[in-house]
Symmetry: C2
Subunit: 189 residues, 2 copies
């Protein structure tokens, strides 16, 4: 088969796969995680049940894959913030800002989803990468004299992630901004 | 019946009830929340199954009651910290310290338990009381010029509770102390 044909098939498979992931996530948010059936997913994605089963064997696997895709997107966003311009302290602020907005958007749902799915390797791995990313930036910032050096960077990273998870309760963008400034101020005290 | 007799019965009932709660909590921590059966609870508490069913109809109700009892104990501890000596800022520090230690001891298990039980009125009510207690102290402290007044007390209270939940990951008392000092420093920036 010519290469072009293979690429067309691959693109089609990715599209179907994404449609399945999006349909399942939409159903889960509408009616709760436990109630979604494979038949509903097929209908919402606009494909037959037989086709759906060629891609995924059950709803939990779809949700797990959807969650992994979203985690990767978020990690990518945080890595870009880390690799931006400026001193370690400035780049840390950019990472914390991005993280707070992710926490605001995903907070409540995400906790429910993670509990439902139980921690898998992908989630744990992503959490560890996130932790390491923030810890390393804090370490750099402390070495540069921008951030406090009297608390281990690992503990400061845990503090940041927990404090910013309060963004899931924030009712306005201004409140999220205040939370970020508040959290970051302790790193410089 | 003479009053003394009634009191003896009441005391006995409370003792059996407490034994059931403690046995169930111990089993849940040993083997996970989902696996505990009424037969195991009866055996561990040293009572018959028929007696157990006179007190509770199922394991979830026992866990809910156990959790409510513990929440009340923790709230009592925080209220005592609030009602101690000193300025609002000092008393806030005492409350935050008590809360961080509770979070350190109960953190991981508690999240699992609360998710398993689903939020009930008692839990939501206790969380609201805790939130209000901290918010009011912060408001007092801000009025006294001890704490920052540029962020709404409600938001500062949410920040404190989230930041201190990082204590569930702390591996030493010294780390918990650093977390408390870190969190509190942002309230005075």
């Amino acid at each position: 088969m010519p290469k072009l044909w293979n690429e067309t098939i691959d693109a089609h498979r990715r599209e179907v796969r994404d449609a399945i992931l999006d349909a399942t996530a939409a159903l889960a948010f509408e009616q709760g995680l436990r109630g979604v059936t494979m038949s509903q997913v097929a209908e919402r994605a606009g494909i037959g049940r037989a086709t759906l089963y060629k891609y995924f064997s059950d709803v939990e696997t779809i949700l797990r894959t959807w969650h992994a895709r979203r985690i990767d997107a978020h990690l990518g966003e945080l890595v870009r913030a880390r690799d931006g311009e400026g001193s370690p302290g400035r780049r840390l602020d950019a990472v914390l800002t991005a993280y707070a907005h992710i926490a605001q958007q995903t907070g409540g749902h995400d906790r429910e989803l993670v509990t439902f799915l139980h921690p898998d390797e992908h989630i744990v791995n992503a959490q560890n990468q996130l932790r390491a990313l923030i810890r390393d930036l804090i370490e750099e910032g402390a070495a540069a004299g921008e951030l406090r050096a009297d608390v281990p960077p690992q503990e400061l990273a845990a503090y940041c992630l927990h404090a910013l998870s309060a963004a899931s309760e924030s009712t306005s963008e201004a409140a999220v901004d205040r939370l970020i400034a508040l959290t970051a101020s302790a790193l410089r005290a």
